[in-house]
């Protein structure tokens, strides 16, 4: 893991430097002594130094025993599950307004449960119970304007 720490440190140093450079371009408002980028510049420089330090530590191999779980190589199934979480949230954001909350939430919960290895019955149960519970708690109890589900309102007009 020492090698990955070198790469990580260099990436951090690069990003922090870019942040400091961007901050240095921020203007100073009239009548003020310090520019709006003064503190961000300090933070960027500090980040760059920390990044170089992490890289140096990786070079010395000092970080080799500090990885813990991060040291375990992920499996393909794990990567698929991880990506599914990300995609499910994005798909919900893109389609919930069109489909309504309950179908979108049920699709996210049921689909992800299947990806995580649940049986079809368990996934379907979780999808229905989970989406309806969240809908009732947030929409009816807390009055959050979740995307409306017209057919559900027709079935249950409360």
């Amino acid at each position: 893991m020492a090698r990955s720490d070198i790469a990580l440190g260099l990436v951090i140093a690069g990003l922090s430097t870019a942040f400091a450079v961007e901050a240095s371009g921020l203007p100073t408002a009239p009548g003020t002594e310090f520019s709006a980028g003064f503190v961000p510049m300090i933070l960027g420089c500090g980040g760059a130094l920390a990044g170089l330090g992490i890289a140096a530590e990786g070079w010395r191999g000092a970080g080799a025993d500090q990885q813990g779980e991060a040291g375990q190589p992920p499996t393909l199934a794990g990567l698929v599950r991880c990506l599914s979480v990300f995609l499910a949230a994005i798909l919900y954001g893109l389609f919930a307004a069109r489909t309504g909350f309950v179908p979108a939430a049920a699709a996210v919960i049921g689909g992800l449960a299947l990806v995580f290895g649940a049986s079809l019955r368990l996934a379907a149960g979780a999808a229905v119970a989970g989406s309806l519970t969240l809908f009732l708690v947030f929409s009816h109890l807390l009055r959050v304007p979740l995307p409306p589900t017209p057919w559900l309102s027709a079935l249950w007009p409360f």
Partner: protein
């Protein structure tokens, strides 16, 4: 006295009591399900507290976290999977008792120790917070700057065990806090033309992302812990319980004090408190040969410490506005949302509210005992919740929770972005907690830093001109110097233990 009477009236209101009971049950549930942590539970509770009055909202968080930390012992004892990282220190002791057919012995003593620890911590909070607040009223921007920097430095360097990665995490959090309009000049910073970013990154969606989404992604990548079958029946939890509690009173008392003090250190949470208390109990044990084989001494001491640290962490949070751990970092966001700006003035401006919060600590910890005794009976069914359906349900709750804060999808995107960032950080061994503290305290740190500089025409000596500021400054610089020295000359032999994760 009027304020205290008013506070009792608020807390003893049936609606508030109902909220405390409900939150306690939720905490039991969250703590006892492996994979759901107290911090994640707190983050998920935030959107719901958004719709409550200030005292019930904070009381809900207090009750939820206290019971979740205790309930983390349950899967630890039954399955050898700590429900929360705060229970990890003594999981082997509790599980050894289960293997000997006595799960109720460990769980019962753990419950009494947790309750006692929580009560001791609450007393410390109730006594010390107002006293410290009186002292803090005389603080200027220089003192606040050093206090914030000291807290953040401890969180980055001491709390994580990985100083450089902790430092980067902290700087990342501070950098994120600079997004939005510069408070001094009104110049937009790092907004990239987005109106949504003008007000800065919304704290709560970022916290939900960093704690909950990143945890879901971590679990998805590495797989959920396997739940074993075959948990046998329990004996009566109360049989011989009080006698055992009396026998281990010294351990419980010492663990409570240690936990409270560790908790009050910024950046050191319940997990660190439990590890330290466990190490102390082992060092001074009457029966050291029992350690690893079901030692009640270690279990009682560490069990008391993790709960007492929760209250200890509230001292710097309420008095200085500096969170003691990840949970109080989230709580600060809620306090601000509820118009209860943390700091010494809160004891003068809103005494009823603040005493209400302090009373709710006591009540929540008292309530934990009967609820815990009842919950232990049904626990063996709860710990078997299929791990395949938990991540989707938690993800959906996070999405709806983030959305509900401003009824805006932008907050959902913020949550998701920070979830990915948090996951990437943890996968690379970078602790998330300092970033959270940096995000929460960034505005305060920058304000006090620039204000002190402007007041002194840029003279850096202004940070050392007042005695308290100078003392805090020296301590902070010492922390940095010692860390730098240890980095340049790393310890030979023993590797640095991986930093504990959030409770």
């Amino acid at each position: 006295m009027t304020a205290i009477a008013g506070a009792f009236a608020i807390v003893l209101d049936p609606a508030t009591l109902l909220v405390i009971v409900g939150a306690s049950l939720l905490g039991m549930l969250i703590g006892s399900i492996p994979g759901l942590t107290a911090v994640m539970g707190t983050a998920l509770l935030v959107p719901i507290t958004f719709f409550m009055d200030p005292v019930p909202a904070i009381a809900a968080m207090v009750a939820m976290t206290a019971t979740a930390i205790f309930a983390g012992d349950i899967p630890g004892a039954l399955l050898r999977i700590p429900g929360t990282p705060a229970s990890a220190a003594y999981v082997d002791e509790a599980y050894a008792l289960t293997r000997r057919g006595k799960p109720e012995v460990g769980l019962g003593l753990g419950l009494v120790a947790s309750t006692a620890g929580g009560l001791v911590g609450s007393i410390f909070l109730i006594v010390c917070a107002p006293l410290l607040a009186r002292i803090a009223l005389g603080f200027s921007t220089a003192e606040y700057f050093w206090l914030a920097l000291l807290g953040l430095s401890c969180a980055a360097f001491i709390g994580t065990g990985k100083p450089l990665k902790g430092l980067f995490s902290l700087l990342f959090g501070l950098a994120v806090s600079t997004v939005g309009l510069d408070p001094a000049s009104g110049v937009p910073r790092f907004t990239f033309g987005s109106i949504d970013l003008m007000g800065g990154i919304n704290l709560i969606p970022a916290l939900i992302g960093l704690f909950a989404i990143s945890e879901i992604m971590r679990g998805a990548l590495h797989g959920a812990p396997a739940v074993r079958e075959g948990i046998g029946t329990f004996g009566r939890v109360t049989a011989g319980l009080w006698q055992r509690a009396r026998e281990h009173g010294r351990n419980i008392a010492r663990g409570s004090v240690v936990g409270t003090l560790v908790g009050a250190l910024p950046g050191a949470g319940a997990d660190i408190a439990a590890w330290i208390a466990y190490a102390i109990s082992r060092r001074f044990a009457r029966r050291p040969q029992d350690f690893g084989k079901g030692s009640l001494e270690g279990l009682a001491e560490a069990g008391a410490a993790n709960n007492s640290s929760l209250s200890g962490a509230w001292v710097p949070t309420l008095v200085f506005g500096i969170p003691g751990d990840s949970i109080t970092a989230i709580v600060i966001g809620v306090l601000i949302l509820k118009g209860m700006e943390p700091g010494p003035a809160i004891f003068i401006k809103q005494p009823e509210m603040i005493y209400g919060v302090l009373i709710s600590f006591f009540l929540a910890n008292l309530l934990m005992l009967p609820l815990g005794l009842a919950f232990i009976r049904v626990a063996r069914h709860v710990v078997r919740v299929p791990p395949t359906i938990l991540p989707p349900l938690v993800l959906m709750a996070c999405i709806v929770g983030a959305f509900s804060l401003n009824n805006s999808l932008f907050d959902v995107w913020v949550m998701l972005a920070f979830g990915v960032i948090g996951w990437l950080m943890e996968e690379n061994g970078i602790p998330v907690a300092p970033a959270i503290l940096g995000l929460v305290l960034g505005g305060m740190l920058e304000f006090n830093f620039t204000t002190t500089l402007i007041k002194s025409d840029g003279d850096l000596l202004a940070f050392f001109m007042r005695p308290v500021a100078a003392g805090l400054g020296v301590v902070t610089l010492l922390v940095w110097a010692v860390t730098l020295f240890r980095l340049v000359r790393p310890a030979r032999g023993a590797g640095v233990a991986a930093g504990p994760r959030e409770a």
